[in-house]
């Protein structure tokens, strides 16, 4: 496993990248769990009285298909983990920006998406 020709410090960088990837992976799982936990209250008839209809349909669809959602989420998170591991195996010094940028995009995008979906549910 040890590479004799790798420069000193690279193993630390690989470890740091691993932590970043792990945090991103766990964060993505956290978003999916949050979405799952929000689905039930958001999909009650309370939302039906509000609009837009597409948002209501989303929550209703999600709550009605909780089991498939869990299954799909597990599958997606495993695939995502596999992609991250593949990236970590091939990552070089020039792609060190990738994980921080991806993390920012994932978290800000997920927050905006969840709040967009919740706004019509909660705000009258």
């Amino acid at each position: 496993m040890a590479r004799s020709n790798q420069p000193p410090g690279v193993s630390d960088i690989r470890l740091l990248n691993f932590f970043l990837a792990l945090a991103l992976w766990l964060g993505t799982a956290g978003w999916l769990i949050l979405l799952y936990n929000l689905a039930l209250p958001a999909s009650t008839k309370h939302i039906v009285e509000k609009h837009p209809a597409g948002v209501a349909d989303f929550w209703v669809l999600l709550s009605k298909n909780a089991q498939p959602f869990v299954g799909l989420s597990v599958f997606c998170i495993l695939v995502f983990g596999w992609i991250l591991v593949s990236y970590l195996r091939k990552a070089g010094l020039r792609t060190g920006w990738f994980l921080p940028v991806l993390s920012v995009l994932v978290h800000v995008g997920a927050a905006a998406g969840v709040l967009y979906l919740l706004a019509p549910v909660l705000v009258r």
């Binding site: 420069p7 000193p8 410090g9 690279v10 630390d12 960088i13 740091l16 932590f19 970043l20 945090a23 991103l24 964060g27 956290g30 978003w31 949050l34 936990n37 929000l38 039930l40 209250p41 999909s43 009650t44 008839k45 309370h46 039906v48 009285e49 509000k50 609009h51 209809a53 010094l93 060190g96 920006w97 921080p100 940028v101 993390s103 920012v104 978290h107 800000v108 997920a110 927050a111 905006a112 969840v114 709040l115 967009y116 919740l118 706004a119 909660l122 705000v123 009258r124």
Partner: protein
């Protein structure tokens, strides 16, 4: 340390710090854009939250100010780490402490942002844990289908009558059944219930997914009943018959609890935030829906707007008492205590016959001329007004104003004409999110309209009785080629069910809904025998 590695570490350090800053700024921007979502959270479950709910400005400051301060702190720390990290990396051959620190700082910022969003789970009332029943019902069981959702209160708003009548009439109630019956109390199967003159028998019907109409639960009502005695939420049917208040689990058909020493409550006004509000002799009694205990009582005139409660009065001194005269003051109530929540709001215009919907109060003002203003219940400001002073109905975020040639529909908040500005012939029968149903007295037909275009989408002829409407659906009975047919529609006008109606049953009310099931109170014909205990 090689220069390439050093450059990489410098870039990584800067990238992580910039990433943390961008993440924080992005989250703050998103949070600010959707600040209404945070403000909509009901925090009154904890003492601190209750205080915040009394002071919306404090709540706003907390929910937006704290993240802002924390965000600024994070940005400041990120700047400091970027600067000090760069110096360390430049100066040292083993700058791993700085790089690890920056990495875990970035990870911590991610966790903090995600943790902050988990706060959204508090936006809904908590699930009430099943509690032991108060009365000695042997068949009690908690509802497995109960959800933590704050769904709308039941609206036993219509009853069948021989002929169609003005739907603007407030809370039409059916006449009590006069059919005699063998009375066996289903909640105390070992004891015969007290015979009362004018007893009736009946049964509840759950209506499953529009696939089949099934008599799922059969309950001897034992006493005369009207739709106003019932309310339904989360699969629990609440029934106040004047002597008892009972909660029936509609999934199992068993009683959750029963209060035998009720205070004469004969109306279920609403089910809100873990409470069932009943009415007795002009008094509102709030009972905990989990066990029937009295949470509070109030003599105030209480108006229900979805999950929100308001009391209205002529002046601040009149709060807590029945409305006498014109309504000038409105105050939101804390459902848990029955006490005022925040400052009482003085309306700019005094109104009669107030109705509240979507946080807006509509009433009939007489000064200086007759008109109907719409005012904000949080500021008291007049938003707009109409000169259509006929009967009005505020429902589903719309205002239906009865005029000479029919009904004018407007958006309640803005007054913007809906239905493309058309005057729809007839009067409104039901109002849902996806449409509204009108009765045309000339043609004796019912029609459902698209609120945006005013185009009739569905129509029914030969309607046999006044349709039964709940908040989320409608059922009606039509005569189709001599046969009685029952139709059910959801709030978007989608037909859920069409099938023959058992001649021995008579529809009484849609008392509520659970998921896609309408809970329909059906009464047996007078001659039919009561169900065996």
């Amino acid at each position: 340390m090689k220069d390439a590695l050093k450059r990489y570490l410098l870039g990584m350090n800067s990238g992580l710090c910039f990433g943390a800053m961008l993440l924080t700024i992005g989250m703050l921007a998103v949070n600010w854009f959707f600040r209404g979502v945070w403000m909509a959270m009901d925090m009154a479950r904890t003492p601190m939250g209750w205080i915040l709910e009394q002071h919306p400005t404090w709540k706003f400051a907390l929910l937006t100010g704290v993240p802002s301060v924390v965000g600024l702190l994070i940005i400041w720390v990120a700047f400091a780490l970027m600067s000090s990290g760069a110096k360390t990396i430049q100066a040292s051959d083993r700058p791993w402490g700085a790089v690890y620190g920056t990495t875990f700082f970035f990870i911590a910022v991610q966790a903090l942002m995600l943790g902050w969003m988990w706060f959204l789970l508090f936006a809904w009332p908590p699930t009430e844990p099943p509690k032991p029943e108060v009365s000695a019902s042997p068949s009690a069981s908690p509802s497995p289908g109960a959800s933590p959702s704050p769904d709308a209160s039941a609206s036993p708003s219509a009853s069948p009558s021989p002929g169609l009548k003005n739907p603007f009439g407030n809370n039409p109630s059916a006449s009590p059944s006069a059919s005699p019956a063998v009375a066996t109390d289903p909640f105390r199967p070992n004891q015969p219930s007290q015979p009362i003159a004018g007893m009736g028998s009946g049964r509840y019907v759950e209506f499953f997914d529009g696939l089949t109409l099934t008599v799922e639960r059969e309950v001897d009502l034992s006493r005369s009943s009207t739709p106003r005695q019932f309310g339904c939420r989360d699969g629990i049917l609440f029934w106040a018959d004047g002597e008892h208040v009972t909660a029936v689990n509609l999934t199992t058909g068993a009683s959750q609890w029963r209060i035998s020493d009720a205070e004469g409550e004969d109306e279920v006004q609403a089910t809100v935030s873990g409470l069932v509000l009943t009415r007795a002799q002009g008094k509102t009694i709030a009972r905990r829906s989990s066990n029937g205990e009295v949470a509070w009582t109030s003599g105030a005139t209480i108006l229900v707007d979805g999950d929100r409660l308001f009391q209205v009065a002529a002046d601040e001194a009149g709060l807590g008492q029945p409305l006498q005269g014109q309504c000038k003051v409105v105050q939101r109530l804390d459902p848990q205590t029955g006490k005022g929540k925040g400052e009482a709001v003085h309306l700019k215009l005094a109104v009669d016959e107030p109705q509240i919907d979507s946080g807006l109060i509509v009433g009939h003002a007489t000064e200086p001329n007759n008109f109907v203003p719409v005012q904000d219940t949080t500021t008291g400001d007049k938003l707009w007004a109409t000169n259509d002073v006929g009967p009005y109905l505020a429902r589903s975020g719309r205002l239906y104003s009865s005029v000479e040639k029919g009904t004018v529909v407007r958006e309640l908040r803005t007054g913007k004409p809906l239905a493309a500005g058309h005057t729809i012939p007839g009067s409104v029968v039901a109002s849902f999110s996806g449409g509204f149903v009108m009765n045309d007295p000339e043609t004796q037909e019912l029609a459902a309209y698209d609120p945006a275009t005013g185009v009739a989408q569905w129509g029914w002829k030969n309607v046999q009785s006044w349709p039964l409407t709940g908040r989320d659906g409608m059922m009606l009975q039509i005569n189709e080629n001599g046969a009685m047919v029952l139709l059910a529609y959801d709030g978007k006008g989608q037909q859920l069910y069409k099938g023959p109606l058992d001649a021995s049953l008579a529809m009484r009310a849609v008392v509520g809904a659970k998921d896609n099931q309408a809970v329909l109170l059906v009464e047996k014909a007078a001659a039919s025998p009561s169900p065996a205990p």
